[in-house]
Amino acid sequence: MVSTNVLLWTFSQNAQYTQAAKDVNQDEADRRNEKIVATDGDYSVSGNEVTVEVTLTNTGAVAAQIINLWVFDTSIQTYNYTSLLNLSLNPGSVADLTGDEAIVVTVDEANPGHDFISWFVTARGNTIALEKEELEDVIVAQVAQGIGYLAMDFDTFRYFEYASDYMLKDYPAGSGSYIVPTAEQVVFRIKLTNFDPSGGNRSLTLHSHSLLWMYYPAVGKQVYWYIVNVSANGTVQPTYSDIVIEFRETTYVYFASASDGTFTGNPDQKKPGTGGPAAINLLLLGTIGPDYYGQNIPFVSVYCT
């Protein structure tokens, strides 16, 4: 009887261990079947905040929960993470984490010119490296004619009228139409991104000689506006200080003044002055890294009424 008891007890203990081993094996199998792909990754930096845009696809056979995103700044060897709540993916589903859904990670002393790597961590303990969007594709698609260093965003091209000598009207929304008033003094705003394709991740500095040049082919007339600084409240600054665009940084650039490097209010305000279709070129001058830089971007057409 005692022997039977011992035997049965041993069997029950063995069954308990076997069950635990089965559970662990099942967990391991689930872990191995979990497969998330992170594609089209892109980083943008503002202050210490690194915004990561990415598309996550669950190509595995099991549902997965993403718990963390780690970002490592390889340029200065700093890193941080952010917890991701409620980011779960069923098999086959896609999470488009771009725009408002992009993930922000605070990394001390991050800079747009820095290189980043990042990875997600799932609740089962898998790590998923983010595959960065190919830079070459970005350059060809976004930079005017696929040449040069700066990309210009057509969707955010705006002009402003003046509310006073220095203050812009309807700032920061402005007017997005490609129809520009002929008789009003205007300021143009263009969104530029530094896509230095050299691989050197150089920052680009725009000097005061940079200007926006409007040409009327019908009458052979031309008008130009020099680059200016505009403060956060929409005030044009009297003296221009160089604008630095770090690698992959996107920034707004304003063209307002009749003078190179200064803006004195009404005397330096300019209007198109001629009706009809006009071509606009950007004549950008400055430095990129330690080298001089010059680029002419023929980018939009407007109709002046």
């Binding site: 041993t10 993470y81 790590t127």
Partner: protein
């Protein structure tokens, strides 16, 4: 009276009746059986208890699973920061020892208290299921060579080991 009876009982040469002898023998056998049973029961109980403890310990060890979210060496000091996630199915995973090694060298550095990822100290110094934490390894016996390949191994109190490689 009783004292006077004892020598008579001892020196009495007459046979005991069959009934009485059978009763005595049966009693002795039963007594021996009971004592044997009790002894065996006791031994079995100890065996069962030890076996259960072993099985429980092995089962608990089996259920432990730590993964390394990140291992960082360097700036600004020569410490190693190890970020862990308990993705197993058992609570109270406590770290007993940590080793750093490469193919020719092994170090058993001291490690800091276990902290949550937000930097606050974990009160019970263990990781429950789904919990994340980190510790810092300091006082390595030698500075790691930048760019070289190393292994960090974590040994838990239950005896499970987990390791990860990193580049210094």
């Amino acid at each position: 009276m009783l004292v006077r009876r004892i020598p008579r009982i001892i020196f009495d040469k007459r046979a005991v009746s069959n009934v009485i002898s059978a009763t005595i023998l049966t009693g002795v056998v039963i007594a021996l059986s009971l004592s044997m049973f009790t002894w065996a029961q006791g031994r079995t109980s100890v065996y069962n208890s030890e076996y259960r403890e072993t099985v429980d310990a092995e089962t608990a060890k089996l259920k432990e699973k730590l993964i390394f979210e990140y291992v960082f060496y360097g700036n600004p000091s020569d410490d190693i920061t190890v970020y862990l996630l308990n993705c197993g199915t058992i609570d109270d995973v406590e770290i007993k020892n940590v080793y750093v090694s490469n193919s020719t060298w092994l170090s058993n550095p001291s490690f800091s208290t276990l902290k949550f990822l937000n930097g606050t100290e974990i009160p019970d110094q263990d990781l429950d299921v789904g919990e994340e934490g980190y510790f810092v390894l300091s006082q390595l016996s030698t500075n790691l060579k930048t760019g070289a390949y190393y292994c960090v191994k974590v040994v838990t109190v239950r005896g499970a080991t987990f390791d990860s490689n990193f580049v210094a």
